[in-house]
Structures are given as structure tokens and as C-alpha cells.
């Protein structure tokens, strides 16, 4: 499985790569391997999110890039320079810490100026003023961090790192401590600033929505390795493992036996119902697999009803649970083979609502389905930690 967004680079261009590159990076703490032989390329100027549940190694990866941890094996290069063992204060990388780690004895101005003063910049004052303006904190310059709200402290932490114009800015769950509304606005704010300053951002988070909203590339991490990496929409629409399918959104995974493989379509026998899956969305090697379909892609109708989905139709479902959530209605439908599938139906008003106990037929367009390897655990990644 490829763990790199770009095409596999050759040895020749390793020197000339101008982004951040991790090669075979491993970090072990005693018996525990936090990061396992990880390869990652972050092109210069991109915004990448490392997404995963707690303990998946994403923060350890970030800390190794910052220099706060030393890899057990492997190498980290930045713009062709090996920084694997460089001290944190020697690398052009700055971090926005999870807890902000603002200096409590310095005022906001001095917190932001800290990095520039260490590097003996002679434009401290102008830069600090510009930066405070960018994060809209000019009027708070002479206050101490403790006098600011959580959102303001977050912006100070961002300004304090950004002012140094690092080659790579690392964000370690920077929005974790904020309430939902503030988090949404800070997500857009950080995205805006990234576009404005054009620096490389590496963002660590366990919140899949945050990762998909902010980053151009999301790398889903699990147990110390990158499961899959790509644009948010690609990851969501075409997950390559059960972990990604469950961790990023929600998926129905149905056991199936592969009947035939054609150039463009794979036919699967799903408990007696033949369904087809596009070949490029087939990630199963053996003759068994998990047919995956997102709940919002499934259409629900009365038996024999003409549904707008030529292709895969599965009869014999019984509605077991209906929850009306305003914009959509969520159904649980028990299939003839005993499995319950989740369906989100948008409340457009064009469909009637079904009640528990009603017989229904399900249907989806073949191009929305995907096929995953049967050796993977169908529930992997579904017990995700929700952002509170």
C-alpha cells in the first residue's frame, strides 16, 4: 500500500526535494513502537493533516519533525538538508503547541517577539506589530497570557510561531481546547492565514472534520503507520482500508464473495445479491471482500419502487430504527442476512418517511461502492474518539 501522496521518488531527486521528507522513520519507547517505518513527503507550501485516534503516533511524528524527539531509526530531511538529529533550536521549524505553552511571565508582545529576539532580528518591532495585526490582537499587546481568552491565547501561539516564517509550521491539536463554534471559526482563520503566508503546515488532529476542512492532503494514521493519504474527498469517497472507511465518516461494510473481475467492474455476490464495484475502487486481493457504501449514498424505497439508482438493488430489508435529525433522516435497516445497515436520507420532501417495521428495498449506484480486503477487521477505526 502506498504511503506517499506523490509518486515514489527516485534516489536521484532525494537531494533536490524542497519539502519535508520522512524516510523509514521509527520511534520506539521501550517496548512500544509509536511510529513504525513511516515514509511521508510534504511538498513545500502544502497543508497536510495527520489524522488518527490518540496513540496512533501522529504527535510523536510531529515532535520528531520539531526535534523534540529523536527518531530511533530513519531520516528526516527538509529542503534537502538532513535534520534528523538537529537540535530543535537549530531547525527552521516552529510549533503551535496543544496547550499553547505561552510564556506566562512575558506579555503578548514579548511572547510573539521571542523567536525573533533569539535570532537577533533587527526588525522585531515592525514584524511583531504586523503579526499582531494579522491575528487581530494589537490591542492586547501589553497583556499577560493569563488575561486572554482561550481563543486569543490560541492566536498568540499561532502568531508566536508564524512570525519566524518557518519552512514548516507544526500544529499539534491547536484547536482541541476551544469550544465548537470558536473551533470552526479558527479552522477557517488558520486556513486563511496559511493561504496568505504560503508556508508549509503540518497539522495533527483526531478530528476528521477538522482535518478535511483545513488540509489539502490528509494522512490517516493508525498504529504508527500511515493507512492512506490523499485529498480529503478521495479519502472519503475511495477508502482503501476498513480503518479509513470507518474512521473518516461512517461506512456500511457487507461481506461478499467476488464472482468475476472485469477490466472496469468487479462483480460481488453479497449474500445472494449480485452487486458490482468499479475495478479502480476494488482494494481486495482474495476472492472475499467487504463491500463498502456510505450511508448517504444508499437510497431507500418501498419494495418494487422505481429508485433513481440503476445497478445494485437489495430487497428484503426491514426498518428497525428511524431518527429524524432535521436535515436528514437516519434509518437502520435489517437485511435478510441479519446485518443492520445505516442510511441517511436527505429531507428534500420528495420521499416519504418510513416507519419501523416497514419492508423496504435498498439501492445504490455501483460507482459509489468500494471493495475492501476481507482480512481487515470490519470494525477497525469505528470506535473513534469524538472531539468534545
Amino acid at each position: 500500500m502506498s504511503q506517499v501522496a506523490e509518486q515514489q521518488p527516485t534516489a536521484a531527486d532525494a537531494e533536490s526535494y524542497d519539502g519535508l521528507r520522512l524516510r523509514n522513520v521509527t520511534k520506539s519507547f521501550a517496548a512500544f513502537t509509536a511510529v513504525d517505518d513511516l515514509d511521508l513527503d510534504v511538498p513545500s507550501g502544502s497543508f497536510i493533516a495527520l489524522l488518527g485516534p490518540s496513540g496512533c503516533g501522529k504527535t510523536t511524528t510531529l515532535r520528531m519533525v520539531a526535534g523534540l524527539e529523536t527518531p530511533t531509526a530513519g531520516s528526516i530531511t527538509l529542503a534537502g538538508q538532513d535534520i534528523t538529529y538537529a537540535k530543535p533550536y537549530q531547525r527552521p521549524v516552529n510549533t503551535v503547541f496543544q496547550s499553547y505553552a505561552l510564556f506566562p511571565h512575558l506579555d503578548i508582545y514579548e511572547n510573539v517577539a521571542f523567536g525573533l529576539r533569539r535570532r537577533k532580528s533587527n526588525e522585531v518591532d515592525a514584524s511583531v506589530r504586523d503579526m499582531l495585526e494579522l491575528v487581530e490582537l494589537t490591542s492586547q499587546a501589553r497583556k499577560k497570557p493569563a488575561q486572554l481568552s482561550g481563543g486569543q491565547q490560541q492566536r498568540v501561539a499561532l502568531a508566536r510561531a508564524l512570525i519566524n516564517k518557518p519552512e514548516v509550521l507544526l500544529l499539534d491539536e491547536p484547536l482541541g481546547a476551544l469550544d465548537l463554534k470558536l473551533r470552526r471559526s479558527m479552522q477557517l482563520e488558520i486556513k486563511r492565514i496559511q493561504t496568505e503566508v504560503g508556508l508549509t503546515f503540518v497539522h495533527v488532529t483526531h478530528d476528521q472534520e477538522e482535518a478535511m476542512t483545513m488540509a489539502d492532503t490528509v494522512a490517516v494514521m493508525n498504529a504508527g503507520v500511515i493507512e492512506q493519504m490523499g485529498a480529503p474527498a478521495d479519502l472519503y469517497e475511495n477508502p482503501q482500508s476498513t480503518f479509513v472507511a470507518n474512521f473518516l465518516g461512517q461506512s456500511n461494510l457487507i461481506e461478499g464473495t467476488i464472482r468475476s473481475r472485469a477490466a472496469d467492474v468487479v462483480t460481488v455476490d453479497m449474500h445472494g445479491v449480485q452487486v458490482s464495484v468499479p475495478t479502480e475502487r476494488c482494494h481486495a486481493d482474495s476472492d472475499k471482500g467487504w463491500v463498502g457504501i456510505r450511508p448517504e449514498k444508499v437510497l431507500i424505497g418501498a419494495p418494487g419502487e422505481e429508485l433513481d439508482a440503476p445497478g445494485n438493488t437489495i430487497p428484503g430489508g426491514v426498518v428497525t430504527d428511524v431518527s429524524f435529525v432535521g436535515v436528514s433522516t437516519q434509518y437502520l435497516v435489517r437485511m435478510p442476512w441479519g446485518q443492520e445497515l445505516a442510511i441517511f436520507q436527505q429531507n428534500t420532501g420528495r420521499h416519504r418517511l418510513f416507519a419501523p417495521g416497514e419492508e423496504v428495498e435498498l439501492s445504490w449506484r455501483p460507482e459509489y461502492a468500494f471493495l475492501l480486503d476481507f482480512s481487515q477487521d470490519a470494525s477497525a477505526g469505528s470506535q473513534k474518539v469524538d472531539a468534545e
Binding site: A66, G67, L68, K87, P88, Y89, V93, N94, T95, F97, S99, A101, L102, F103, P104, H105, F114, G115, R118, R119, R160, A161, N164
Partner: protein
């Protein structure tokens, strides 16, 4: 409603009463008595009694007679405080950041000397630093001390004794202060281009200042007034003001002079401490 508010208001004052009585009885009254004694006519004695003549000359007399031990006390106290700070900071830092699971054991060891008496510990230093003792012999052997060099009855012994005896008073407040520092702040300073040395002076040191201030006060004030170390480890040439006051009270029976000297010492310390604390509150101390 207003009844409960009023009651709650008076509870606070009621709680103050024991402390106020205690301090009134054992601090204000003796202090008054001390200041009054310092102005008695020096011709009296504790057997014949003293008369109050507002004899301000007591002050000028003791200053001209004892300015040397007075200055020496301040100097020895300051040196001992400095050595305590250097030794204590390293120790407190190590306990707070590096001791791991040995933290509590190390803290107990810092306090352990208090389990034996101050006097006994200082007497054992007298044995350690004795002229034919192991330490002096070794120092003579490596020619740091001359063949007839000694440690006892030198300023080195007195200052070393003071440093040893007051070290825990420095370590504990320093530890409390350093232990509170979030190690992530040190990581942040390192991330922001501060090498460990700069990081220490820009982050760790300023954040530990409350501990530095209370530690130095807790060391300096008792060290200046101490007389055990000077008596046991020093010679008359290392006499400190505490010894002078003690002998004026108990040997010479010159109560007015002893009281005047005590008041001067107290006033000096109060002025120095006020000045120090005011400066420590600003960034001047950095």
C-alpha cells in the same frame, strides 16, 4: 439575608483573634520592651534596675564599638546566601526535573538534617574541619592548604557552616517554584531558537524567581543573625553580630547596648529586605 452577611463578616474577625493575641503577646510586647531597653541609661544593671532616660547615645556607642562584626555578619550572610543559591538551585532543579521516581526520597533527604539538632550538626562540622582531620590533611596533601594551614577559625569554616545549615531553607522554596514550571515551556523556548543556556535565563530563571526571592530571604535573615556557626567554627576574628549581642546580654550584662545592637540589626535587615523585594518584583533582578 443581611443577618447572615453581617455574621459572616464578623466570623473573619473572630478567626483573627487568636493570631492577633499571640503576636501581640509574643511579638509586639517584646519588641516594645527591646526598643525601650535600648534607650535605658547604661549605668544601671539587671540587679539594680534601669531607668528610662532616652539615652540615644547607646546607638552611637554600639555602632562605633561593633561596626566591624555588624558589617561582617551582613557580608558572611550574603556570601552564605549566594552559595546556598548556587548549590540549592542545582539541587532543586535536579529534584524537580530529573529525579523521576526518586523525587520524594530526595526531598526527605533534604529535610533529614532537621532530625538532628542544629548544635550537634555544627559540632560535627567542628570535628570534620579539625586541624588533624581528614579534610584538612587531604587539602594539605594536595597543597591547597599550606603545611600549617587550617580551616577551623577561618571565614571559610564559618561561611561553609552557614551555607550547610541554611541550605534546606533555600532548597525547599526553590523546589516548590521550579517544580511548578511546565516543561512544555522549555520545549517551546527551544522550538523558538533558544539554546538551553538562553532558554534557562529567559524562561526557567524568571519563572523560578518567586522561589529565589523567598529562598534568599529565608536564608539571609537567619544567617545574618546566627551566632552558633561563628562561635563553634570561627575565632574572635570571625565574630558575628549574633555572638556580640549574645555576650552583651549574658556575659557583660549590658542590656541597653545589646538591645540597641539588636534594634540596629533588625532595622538594617528590614530596610535591605524591603529594597530587595521591591526590586525583585520588577525585572531589575533578571
Amino acid at each position: 439575608m443581611s443577618e447572615t452577611v453581617r455574621k459572616r463578616g464578623s466570623t473573619g474577625y473572630l478567626l483573627l483573634i487568636p493570631g492577633v493575641l499571640w503576636l501581640g503577646l509574643f511579638f509586639v510586647v517584646p519588641l516594645y520592651s527591646l526598643v525601650a531597653t535600648s534607650l535605658f541609661d547604661p549605668s544601671g544593671s539587671d540587679t539594680t534596675g534601669y531607668t528610662m532616660t532616652y539615652h540615644w547615645a547607646n546607638y552611637s556607642h554600639v555602632i562605633s564599638d561593633y561596626w566591624q562584626p555588624l558589617l561582617r555578619s551582613l557580608w558572611y550572610g550574603a556570601l552564605a546566601t549566594f552559595f546556598c543559591l548556587v548549590l540549592g538551585y542545582v539541587l532543586a532543579y535536579a529534584i524537580a526535573f530529573k529525579a523521576g521516581r526518586w523525587k520524594n526520597l530526595m526531598l526527605v533527604l533534604v529535610i533529614a538534617p532537621f532530625f538532628t539538632s542544629f548544635l550537634v550538626r555544627t559540632l560535627s562540622w567542628k570535628l570534620l574541619l579539625a586541624d588533624d582531620g581528614f579534610i584538612v590533611n587531604t587539602l594539605q596533601f594536595v597543597h591547597i592548604l599550606g603545611a600549617d594551614g587550617r580551616l577551623l577559625a577561618t571565614p571559610v569554616a564559618v561561611i561553609a557552616g552557614l551555607t550547610y545549615n541554611f541550605l534546606p531553607f533555600m532548597v525547599l522554596p526553590l523546589y516548590a517554584s521550579i517544580d511548578k514550571i511546565d516543561p512544555r515551556l522549555i520545549e517551546a523556548s527551544s522550538d523558538l531558537y533558544a539554546n538551553p543556556f538562553v532558554g534557562f535565563f529567559k524562561v526557567t530563571w524568571p519563572l523560578s524567581l518567586p522561589g529565589v526571592v523567598s529562598g534568599t530571604l529565608l536564608t539571609f535573615i537567619p544567617a545574618v543573625g546566627d551566632y552558633i556557626n561563628a562561635e563553634l567554627l570561627g575565632s574572635p576574628n570571625q565574630r558575628m553580630i549574633g555572638s556580640v549581642i549574645q555576650s552583651l546580654f549574658t556575659n557583660a550584662n549590658n542590656y541597653p547596648a545589646a538591645a540597641a545592637l539588636s534594634v540596629i540589626l533588625m532595622a538594617l535587615i528590614v530596610v535591605m529586605v524591603l529594597f530587595y523585594v521591591r526590586r525583585a518584583g520588577t525585572e531589575d533582578l533578571l
